[in-house]
């Protein structure tokens, strides 16, 4: 008999089959992920978790009999029946049998758990920032160290032990450093030696050898080598995303929720895919302020509406920190479309003269009350539409329900055909 311990075998033997399964189920998994977004908090959703997908294209068909026709069965546990009894069919199905429980369940939907990685992959599949590579993306460089041979100086942490001992050994052999064994042998001879004269000679010899050992060190500073690294520049596209959110009094809780959800998606997308993209959060009422991410998502504020204030804030941040020469600039704005009438001219001027020329891409998301499809367009919407017709890099979308957030988000950041993928 043999006992084999298989517990130590490499894990994840099933991984490849799983990937094949996910690849095949991609479409339906994406659908399921989208649905789970509606019902759950985004933060929770991103931890992966259970999704339930329909069996379309995933079934493994085989030639089986259907439920029609006559069925005979033997069952255990008879209590009162005798031959010839007629039992009413239980359950609604036409050809029910006395045992109806648990039949067919679990056939239509298929539930399983996605890991966080898999979830994000599905979730962000096919999204990218448009036109990222167009500007001078190698202006500043990101450096990363690569191995580049050995050097005689360096930090102790980088000592190349193999190389050092090899050099030390070469030097010791070249200088004929006596080995400890030679001395030990001579000493044994001395111990065994009877004759005084010979012993003196031997002792002298040992002394000479020992002196030589002291003169020639085992490892000399000249032997020591260090691993050398060189910093290799890596081009990185510099990008900054401005998130402009209207938090004025005209925005209802529902609208704010939609806007926040949108930015949450944007935030996750950028954080996951583009490590070097900077984010600037600007929220505005009748005046705008740059805030950190926590305040942006969580702290309440209210007031009147002046859209130009946010654009003005964005312009000043660009002027201060992100020169359009060196940066790919993106902006996403969410608003209910209300703007005070007196502000329209200022808004248009700012957009036309400062913001749009500097930006690669500007996404405008108009949030509305759920269920209410407004016929007339808002002031902002009309303005943006006009600008877009003039050829500005603008995308505008309307959202009035949670379930639309993800599709709209995907539309806005779908990978465009014909643009090569930018390096992140």
């Amino acid at each position: 008999m043999n006992i084999v311990d298989r517990r130590l075998n490499p894990r994840g033997k099933a991984l490849e089959n799983r990937q094949r399964f996910l690849r095949r189920a991609k479409g339906v998994v994406q659908q399921a992920v989208k649905q789970s977004l509606q019902s759950r908090n985004i933060r929770d959703v991103l931890d992966g978790g259970e999704v339930s997908i329909p069996m379309d294209g995933m079934e493994e068909p085989s030639l089986r009999r259907g439920s029609g026709g006559t069925h005979d069965r033997v069952l255990p546990g008879n209590k009162t029946f005798i031959e010839g009894d007629v039992l009413p069919r239980s359950g609604g199905g036409g050809s029910g049998r006395p045992d109806k429980a648990g039949e067919g369940a679990g056939e239509d939907a298929f539930r399983f758990v996605l890991t966080r990685e898999e979830f994000l992959n599905v979730f962000l599949d096919d999204l990218e920032l448009p036109d990222l590579a167009k500007r001078r993306l190698t202006e500043t460089e990101h450096e990363s160290p690569v191995r580049a041979g050995y050097s005689v100086s360096g930090s102790p942490a980088n000592i190349a032990v193999n190389r050092t001992t090899r050099l030390a050994m070469m030097r010791r052999m070249a200088l004929r450093r006596p080995s400890p064994e030679t001395i030990a042998r001579l000493q044994a001879e001395i111990a065994a030696c009877e004759e005084d004269g010979l012993r003196l000679v031997l002792e002298d010899k040992v002394k000479a050898l020992e002196a030589k050992v002291r003169r020639i060190p085992y490892i000399d500073p000249v032997d020591v080598r260090y691993r050398r690294y060189e910093n290799e520049p890596k081009p990185v596209a510099q990008a900054v995303m401005f998130c402009l959110m209207d938090v004025s009094g005209s925005m209802t809780e529902h609208m704010k929720d939609l806007a926040k959800r949108f930015y949450m998606l944007l935030y996750i997308f950028l954080a996951q895919r583009y490590r070097h993209v900077e984010l600037v959060f600007i929220r505005h009422t009748d005046r705008a302020e740059e805030v950190d991410e926590d305040t942006f998502f969580h702290s309440p504020a209210t007031g009147g509406t002046l859209v130009s204030s946010a654009l003005e804030a964005m312009r000043s941040v660009i002027a201060k920190r992100y020169s359009p020469e060196d940066w790919n600039i993106y902006a996403a704005q969410a608003s209910d479309g209300d703007n005070s009438y007196s502000d329209e001219a200022a808004t248009e001027r700012l957009l036309k003269d400062a913001i749009l020329p500097a930006s690669q891409y500007f996404a405008y998301l108009e949030v509305g009350e759920s269920g209410r499809e407004s016929v007339s367009h808002s002031a902002l919407w009309r303005l943006y539409e006009r600008l877009r017709a003039e050829g500005a890099p603008l995308s505008i979308r309307k959202v009035s329900h949670r379930s639309e957030i993800f599709p709209v988000f995907r539309e806005l950041f779908q990978r465009r055909q014909g643009h090569e993928k930018a390096t992140s």
Binding site: I3, D5, L63, G69, T70, H71, G77, V86, S95, R97
Partner: protein
């Protein structure tokens, strides 16, 4: 029975590899000398829960080719397991030589003893001795064959692309249930025998030669068309119920590697074919064996009373048979039915009643239960086992009854037979039939190919009791067949009178490439 007290095999729930060895040796002694079992050498492998899930999803085999469906099963099992809805099996055992049993690391020492007795001796003996396994499986070669299959399919993927291979495998998997030979083919005569037969036939003809026959008017000769059809069917080996075999040998446009993949899937299906036919017997045997071994170990004091109680708890869970109206009634539990029948047989052999002598004259009261059981284990499958050895007493004990659900009777289902003198035989026949897979699986055959015309393949489903095929599944499978065959395929569902009840048609999805 004499009982020499043994040292306890272990204490508490912990075990080590040394304990496993001792447990195995103790079980082996009882199994071989007292029960007279004949087993393959054992290999015991300790695995984790994840590995168990993995084994689940790839049909229990330790190595298997890659396919998305295994990933799907894994994800499914895993979701259930994580939620705690389903326990994993305590063991999986593989019909190979050496016989590999997987033990979960979470099992307690008692459970490991149970599992070793159950799998490494019960199942093992059954695999080695049952005629179906002897005929259809090659225990020595299966692992090597799977190794080959895995490598071959991986190489195909490299050469022809994952998608193409996946498509072929999907199609083959869909036909797996109709990819087995049900009867061993007749063995080919060798040339010498063939020649002798030919000589004999000639001699016989000469002997009975009578010129008078020439003058007898012959019946209407078969038309050339009929003869052609007959010849075509003979050449193609039709009708053929092994669809995979037929496609592998005769599909006109398959590549060599595709044929080989069909062959691999067919071999795997054939390997599992005996297991499908012996669920009750296999589990019954293993359960009976573990029960005997555990009881004996307890008698010898190798198992403490506490450990034995732990065993009895799991044992009674395993052989629990809920009645038909239980909310979680899944049908007959093969463990329960098998174990009950084995115990009943033991009773019939050692302490028969008058009724048993009448029903089982050959075995009642012969005294050596193990000899009778070993013989049964070797020579029966579920269907024949039940139809011969289900005793009236057990039918009464399990209170079996036979219902018939005929859609024509709108008022309900009819109780056809119950456990009384008038019903025993009918119940037994019906239950045996439920385990006859050539009865439960739809009977589908390739009947003809239109070689002269559009090369349409004609399949026929012989409908029994008006049960048609499940429509969507049949459409999907037929699509797969059409893809393999590369021309149109028609499946007719025909009732015993010859009326066509329904017809499915499929055309290949990709246009056949020029050969």
């Amino acid at each position: 029975m004499t009982t020499a007290a043994m040292e306890p095999l272990f204490e508490g729930a912990d075990w080590s590899f040394f304990t496993l060895q001792r447990i195995h040796d103790a079980c082996e002694e009882i199994a071989l000398s007292e029960l007279g079992l004949d087993v393959y050498p054992n290999q015991i492998e300790v695995i984790t829960a994840e590995q168990m899930l993995d084994a689940y999803s790839s049909t229990g085999m330790p190595l298997f080719y890659k396919h998305w469906s295994f990933g799907k099963h894994f994800a499914h099992h895993e979701a259930f397991y994580r939620k705690g809805l389903r326990d994993l099996a305590y063991e999986i055992v593989i019909n190979s030589s050496p016989c590999v049993s997987y033990l979960m690391e979470e099992n307690t020492a008692t459970m490991q003893t149970l599992v070793i007795a159950h799998a490494a001796f019960g199942h093992n003996h059954f695999f080695k001795n049952n005629y179906l396994f002897k005929t259809w499986t090659d225990a020595e070669g299966i692992l090597d064959y799977l190794e080959f299959a895995k490598g071959y399919i991986a190489r195909c993927e490299e050469r022809h692309g994952q998608i193409a291979v996946e498509r072929t495998l999907d199609a083959a998997h869909a036909l797996m249930s109709h990819g087995v030979h049900r009867y061993p083919g007749k063995s080919k005569l060798d040339l010498r025998l063939e020649e002798r037969r030919e000589r004999d036939r000639r001699a016989h003809e000469e002997q009975i030669f009578n010129d008078l026959w020439r003058t007898v008017p012959a019946g209407p000769s078969k038309s050339a068309q009929d003869l052609g059809a007959e010849r075509r069917r003979t050449v193609l080996g039709l009708p053929q119920d092994n669809l995979l075999y037929f496609l592998e040998k005769s599909a006109p446009r398959l590549q060599a590697w595709q044929r080989e993949i069909l062959r691999i899937v067919r071999h795997v299906a054939q390997y599992f074919h005996p297991q499908r036919q012996t669920k009750v017997m296999n589990e019954g045997t293993a359960t009976y064996v573990h029960y005997r071994i555990m009881t004996r170990l307890h008698e010898k004091q190798a198992l403490s009373d506490g450990n034995f109680l732990e065993f009895l708890t799991s044992h009674s869970n395993v052989v629990f048979q809920p009645p038909y109206d239980h909310p979680r009634f899944p049908g007959f539990n093969p463990y329960a039915l098998g174990f009950a029948m084995m115990q009943d047989l033991e009773r019939i052999v050692t302490a028969p009643e008058v009724e048993d002598r009448e029903w089982f004259p050959d075995i009642a009261g012969t005294g050596d239960a193990m000899a009778v059981l070993r013989d049964i284990w070797a020579n029966y499958r579920d269907e024949s086992f039940i139809s011969q050895f289900l005793s009236p007493r057990l039918m009464r004990q399990m209170r079996m009854f036979h219902v018939c659900d005929d859609p024509a009777r709108t008022e309900g289902v009819v109780v056809e037979a119950i456990h009384d003198e008038a019903g025993y035989r009918r119940i037994r026949r019906q239950l045996a039939r439920e385990y006859d897979i050539s009865w439960t699986d739809p009977n589908i055959e390739v009947v003809d190919v239109d070689l002269a015309g559009d090369r349409r393949l004609l399949l026929r489903h012989s409908v029994v009791n008006g049960c048609l095929l499940q429509d969507t599944a049949a459409t999907h499978v037929l699509q797969h067949i059409a893809d393999l065959w590369s021309y149109d395929v028609r499946l007719q569902e025909v009732d015993p009178t010859g009326t066509v009840l329904r017809e499915h048609v499929a055309s290949p999805r990709v246009l056949p490439r020029a050969a």
